[in-house]
Symmetry: C2
Subunit: 355 residues, 2 copies
């Protein structure tokens, strides 16, 4: 078992990575302080892992909420389903929610924990690569609004993140590939050596070599934990983790949630951000192309949907990274080195959108 610690004062916690952790009741129970537990999962994950997790929790008072599967259900309505489950089960402030599933389940469950009785505990048990390397770590919780992604949410840190890489064996290939976008992102924004390691081992990672995959998950969590511990509320450096995301969110919003997977949109978004970085002379064309090549190689899209060209700028301006001073973008000064740029010219941006 590998452990990555996320230092955040009183809100510090550990991320555990190891095959078989889904059955490790002793580890789970270390982070459950009351008698009540509500497992939140979805129709896709429940038949695969719900019984095992329930068994690991033994004689605790365990309720379950099974949500429909998909980004299109990451809504206030789904939040309401979880909250209703808590109230119907008479859960009190000492309850613990467990998010068993991917990023959507984790984000909804975390937000439900943030606002149920103004805040209760929760544990992340991510089962998708995207959630394991990214969304389950760092305490960002949210649901979508028809007018914008992740617009309704809270910063609410979990008690622990428990990652069983074996769960990736049941993950559809398309989702594995989408999760790889965030893995590549971590190398691109913070660690050139890691990026190069990914280039060398990508075939084995996509073939689900569990040892290498655990290593990648650990390194990605370390990079994310390091940045989050320096800036929990995203007032500064944490914004770097949004590399590719302002472009990506525009694609997701424009296409309607679920048409493109989040990771797919981030894949194309990173290619756009890198191309813009090169156009502005911030990084070399070689680095930009090398990033695009790895993204293409894993099977992620590298260009945005042509149908969105006309409205792309307007879609981007709805993003949370929009300030009174204009759009703040994360760009690259080279592979492994992201920077925040807040005065990007709309003409340059449009040139990248036009491709």
């Amino acid at each position: 078992m590998e452990v990555v610690n996320l230092g955040l004062g009183d809100a510090s916690y550990s991320i555990y990575i190891g095959a078989g952790l889904l059955d490790d009741g002793a580890l789970l129970r270390r982070y459950i302080h009351g008698r009540q537990v509500l497992i939140v999962t979805n129709t896709n994950i429940a038949p695969l892992y719900l019984e095992r997790l329930q068994a690991a929790l033994g004689d605790l008072n365990v309720g379950t909420v099974v949500l429909p599967d998909g980004e299109q259900f990451k809504t206030l309505a789904s939040l309401d389903i979880v909250l209703t489950g808590l109230l119907e089960g008479h859960h009190n402030r000492a309850t613990t929610l467990i998010a068993l599933g991917g990023g959507v389940v984790g984000d909804i469950t975390g937000f439900a924990a943030a606002c149920y009785q103004r805040g209760v505990a929760f544990i992340q048990v991510p089962t998708t690569l995207l959630a394991q390397v990214d969304s389950s770590v760092g305490g960002k919780t949210a649901v979508n609004h028809p007018l914008g992604k992740n617009m309704i949410g809270a910063f609410h840190q979990p008690q622990a993140v428990i990652i069983d890489p074996e769960s990736l064996q049941s993950l559809p290939k398309r989702e594995l590939i989408a999760g790889m976008a965030e893995v590549i992102k971590h190398g691109a924004l913070a660690d050139r050596e890691y990026f190069e390691w990914l280039e060398r081992h990508m075939d084995q990672l996509l073939a689900l070599d569990l040892e290498l995959m655990s290593e990648a998950i650990k390194r990605s969590c370390e990079i994310k934990a390091d940045i989050v511990s320096r800036d929990e509320k995203e007032l500064g450096v944490r914004a770097l983790l949004n590399f590719g995301h302002t472009f990506g969110h525009a694609i997701e919003t424009g296409m309607g949630y679920g048409a493109w997977l989040h990771g797919e949109a981030v894949g194309a978004g990173m290619v756009m951000a890198a191309a813009l970085s090169a156009r502005l002379g911030l990084c070399s064309a070689a680095d930009s192309q090398r990033l695009a090549a790895l993204i293409a190689r894993v099977g992620l899209p590298v260009v945005p949907p042509p149908a969105l060209k006309g409205e792309f700028l307007s879609l981007m301006s709805r993003d949370k990274k929009m300030t009174d001073k204009g759009l703040k973008l994360v760009l690259l000064s080279g592979l492994g080195q992201a920077i925040l740029v807040d005065d990007v010219d709309a003409m340059d941006l449009q040139a990248i959108i036009n491709g």
Copy 2:
């Protein structure tokens, strides 16, 4: 103008009390850091004060959301209306929400500010007595759920609370009286001298003597600010502010939101809590009766609806104050001195419910 400071480290803020403050644009703008403002109010308050507040904000980019009036609209659906208003107006993270109205408007607006883009700024401009002395101070925000009051919310402190006691002149008498329940509560739980001052001046207060009313608002805000500054997240002493509320919430939930005003339910709830305190020998029967007498004198109910007797205990057990160890109740060891008791016998409780 009177000022009460609420010390909470980085989240500290001031409560301003003064006739005419609704028009004090300079004061308001001290707490608005971006160009965007969204005023949230209701159909009742908008015709009375919205234009004046808009005028005070001058050339800022000011949007408005006007909600239907009433506790029954303190829902996730109303939250969604505010969030949609923010998104349709393209509000960014530097925006400021202003809650113009009573407790319902303040609670919804505060929660919208807490979760819009994971947290933006807001200012409380309370126009009801209940909001001025209680709900606008302390950062508790929430909406109701059909299964429980204030079950969905966040701790989110405002930038400032700006109180214009002249706004009480347009307040229906029934709501003025309901607000007086929280004023009496502050005396009963924390300050016997204040309670006695209220006994002496209650007729003038109900006749809206603005000088005495400002004094009462100030003293109530001081008591609340003192307690909140010692325990923002209600892990201990802040629970004392819930005196009368566990009983009161049971009445509100049992009757359906809006049938009884919050203050009315709290009025009867305080009488029940004091009677229980006397029954348990914690405070004198004289103190309990004296509290009941003042509550009756302002015109608040002193007994719960008889129809709820059968389900009252079960309604109470849904309250947030329920823990794994049982129901935690705020009782009195005397007028001006509340205490937390967490092992109340159900038989004693039922005796009080039976009356």
